[in-house]
């Protein structure tokens, strides 16, 4: 590899975009070329000055409402005669379905889908509103007591730093119109929200991985709690998170 190639590829190396083979080649060149080694150091140093948070612009609130105003409003039901008639027609269909027992099953599926949508929305909100944590601490003995009196359940707060998941804190959130505990972890630059809701009498349920809007959700139930881990990290890492959490909980 010559210096010309290396001067381009060292950026890909910095960004972690090279496969192992190419990374080794660049590193081998840098080991014998002081000029390219200096370049690598300079750009690593310069990269620290490019902090995304400080270079971003916040969209004006007026723009957000302008866009929302142009999109179809949610559940804007126009009460004209036609829709009333349709309503009756729909009602009749629903009763027929209910009578056949089909509806109960469909509704159950819908219910789960809706809750899934809600935890993903809560995850998105937590990133968007810059309200990730109410209590910010990497110490489980600070985060856990914070929930006392705020919820009728003591959520399991577990430090997983050694396992590669940093505890950031906790937050009170809402899903399915009920207050839930959100325990917040970080994996590299990715945030994991672990939502816990009391589910009295619910049976232990093995984990299930689902995906919605590009987010992965691992949901399971144990100790009378429903749990959802939501993140944009890949399913393998989210599964790892869930397994480590469950294992730590059992200790």
């Amino acid at each position: 590899m010559n210096c010309e190639e290396a001067s381009v590829l060292l950026h890909a190396l910095i960004d972690g975009e090279l496969d192992a083979g190419h990374a080794r080649e660049v590193e081998a060149h840098i080991a014998i070329c002081p000029d390219c080694a200096a370049q690598l150091r300079e750009f690593l140093e310069f990269g620290k000055k490019l902090t995304p948070a400080a270079l971003r612009f916040a969209a004006p609130a007026s723009l957000r409402s302008r866009i929302e105003g142009k999109l179809p409003a949610p559940r804007a039901v126009v009460a004209n005669r036609r829709s009333v008639i349709k309503g009756f027609a729909l009602g009749a269909t629903m009763s027929a379905l209910a009578a056949s027992g089909v509806l109960v099953m469909v509704m159950r599926g819908d219910d789960e889908r809706r809750v899934l949508g809600e935890v993903v929305s809560a995850h998105l909100r937590s990133l968007q509103a810059q309200h990730l944590t109410d209590v910010q601490s990497s110490d489980q003995h600070t985060v856990k007591p914070w929930f006392n009196g705020r919820l009728d359940v003591a959520p399991p707060v577990i430090e997983l730093t050694a396992q590669g998941f940093t505890l950031l804190g906790g937050r009170l959130d809402y899903a399915d119109a009920k207050p839930v505990a959100a325990i917040v972890y970080r994996r590299r630059v990715h945030v994991i929200n672990l939502f816990c809701a009391p589910a009295p009498g619910s049976a232990k349920r093995a984990a299930r991985m689902q995906s919605l809007h590009g987010f992965n959700v691992r949901s399971w139930s144990e100790n009378g709690l429903d749990l959802w881990a939501v993140s944009d990290i890949n399913t393998e890492e989210l599964a790892e998170f869930g397994e480590k959490f469950e294992a730590a909980l059992r200790q």
Binding site: S7, V8, L9, L10, H11, A12, D15, E17, E42, F43, F46, G47, K49, L50, T51, P52, A53, A54, L55, R56, F57, A58, A59, P60, S62, L63, R64, R66, I67, E68, K70, L71, P72, A73, P74, R75, A76, K86, A89, L90, G117, V120, S121, L124, R125, L127, Q128, Q130, L132, T133, Q136, L168, R186, V189, V191, H213, G214, D232
Partner: protein, 189 residues
């Protein structure tokens, strides 16, 4: 009944779209601010981007939505404001109060002196990024601020990955040189 179902689907679509696309508004707006000059153009471009994205939401094939939105925004900027994209981004002091960006988790807290210095630094960096030629500016913003992978950047700017790599290398070199020059000026004055 068919019309009814379509209507309900439409509302479901709008809600899905909002839940998915609106959280990225700041990021889309940021690219618009760097690509276009002036806030009113950026506002209009971002609005057009979201309306276009909603109209074509069926064509979105899952995965992260951010690169998809950024690609639409870039097309809007090029189609509507062709010629302007090469213009220099001018920092307007009057707009600075709309900048309220905080990292998601708090970094070690600065002393007030450090905070002032840091703010000054990021204003300089914004200006210098804005002064880069458009083809280098967009790869810097997409990589360093929008945090896209090379593959995603390649899709957004419709260029091969090799082009992304060489442009990014050149962009960082230009930006670093401009930064060192600005720093030199700051010290000598």
């Amino acid at each position: 009944m068919a019309g009814d179902a379509a209507e309900w689907n439409d509302q479901g679509k709008a809600e899905r779209f909002k839940a998915l696309a609106l959280p990225h508004l700041d990021e889309i707006y940021t690219l618009a601010r760097y690509l276009l000059r002036g806030t009113s153009d950026a506002d209009d471009a971002v609005q057009e981007c979201y309306l276009r994205a909603f109209r074509h939401f069926e064509t979105f094939r899952g995965g992260p939505i951010k690169p998809w939105l950024l690609a639409i925004l870039r097309n809007v900027c090029h189609a509507t404001y062709a010629g302007k994209t090469r213009l220099v981004y001018a920092a307007d002091p009057a707009e600075r109060d709309d900048v309220q960006v905080k990292p998601i988790w708090r970094e070690d807290s600065d002393t007030p002196e450090q905070a002032v210095l840091r703010r000054h630094e990021s204003e300089t960096m914004r200006r210098l990024i804005g002064e880069l030629p458009a083809e280098f500016r967009e790869v810097i913003v997409l990589r360093e601020i929008n945090d896209l992978s090379y593959r995603e950047i390649a899709a957004v700017i419709e260029a091969p990955i090799g082009t992304v790599m060489s442009r990014l290398a050149r962009a960082r070199k230009l930006l670093r040189e401009a930064w060192l020059a600005a720093e030199g000026e700051g010290k000598s004055s």
